[in-house]
Subunit: 238 residues, 2 copies
Amino acid sequence: QHYIICGFSRTGRQIAIEFRAENVPFVIIDSDLESVQIAQQKDYIVYQADATLDETLWKVGIDRAVCIVAALPSDAENLYVVLSAKTLNPKIRAIARASTEEALQKLQRAGADAVVSPYITGGKRMAAAALRPQVMDFVDGIISGTDRELYMEEFLLDPATCPFVGQTLGEANLRAKTGALLLAIRRASGELIGGPTPETAFVPGDVLIAMGTAEQLRALNKVLGPINSKRLRRPRKS
Amino acid sequence: QHYIICGFSRTGRQIAIEFRAENVPFVIIDSDLESVQIAQQKDYIVYQADATLDETLWKVGIDRAVCIVAALPSDAENLYVVLSAKTLNPKIRAIARASTEEALQKLQRAGADAVVSPYITGGKRMAAAALRPQVMDFVDGIISGTDRELYMEEFLLDPATCPFVGQTLGEANLRAKTGALLLAIRRASGELIGGPTPETAFVPGDVLIAMGTAEQLRALNKVLGPINSKRLRRPRKS
Ligand SMILES: [Ca+2]
Ligand SMILES: [Ca+2]
């Protein structure tokens, strides 16, 4: 149930900061001695090895990992890591870095579950800061960072444990029960219902996207799955 | 009332795509002939010049511009552009790219209104894709892109034109009137009220952060400022 970060350059270091802030167990792979030493100084678990070798991936427990993040400098190496990881553990979630639009498309075709291009993301982020400064400040503040007041979190409705499946939003009345604000519902079909109304009904497999304080989201998690379903996520920090 | 993009490399190109998608008037400055030609092929207004020269900034109307985006490859040049722009037009909004945490802090000290580091942003984005895939899909889908169903928008409450200043959220009843969902209120003091309740009151200078379809946000804009205040933003695409 751990995460694997391949590449401990600037991007990889930021990923490690975020993972540690949320108490996610993870290991780092990097072939460069200097990077490995920096990781050791920060008390991260790190292997000096080539992440494109199956042998390396076995050593860091690829078969038991939930997620691998390919943040190597080369697009070709990231593609190789994604393909290897998905072969060794078809259930693993693979996130990859791409430096170009072309690489982004290739990584998606290779089976990456999410691909991030720092240039594209950075450009979008700068445009958004120019056009909607308050919206971006708000979103940045609830998406990452270690001293957040507000969080956004996702909750999978498990019909076995969730008492609200089949009810409408108005009947469930989650806002009054928890204080958390329901922003959207992602149906199992992929359909997104943004800003659901009191008439919207919950169905099995819905993923709820909610916003609130850590306390409010913990309360929401509790009412959604009283038997404490393992499939429900919880904010890891308070 | 135009925007200026300094640097038409990968980041700058993404910024131009976002600006065009929202019909924002902008000019590009780049000293490299090849980049200038690529910009011309896309029918952008582009000047081949050195953005660190005051002369160049005057030529692109720095005194009348609302915002300048410094996306040059060098942190030192971006710092220089921010300082020059703020000197020539103290009211301009300046967004800058930084490649390191150190440069980020220097650019903030130099007066940049927002600083984006593609490596840090990219790393945060990858971590979020690993930890909260649905939340990130949702946020990406409403923050940028040309084929959005949902938008997030900010609205400044102008006491001269807004009939709701002094009322509570419950009295104003904006959700029923417009369909848009109010996510947060940023007070003029800087205080952020996330997920405001029906008891929360609107005060002059509040910025509302709302989510909805283009139609819902247009309706919200209309009820917030019936005289069509210039200070209220509108989504530029439908
Ligand atoms: Ca990296
Ligand atoms: Ca650039």
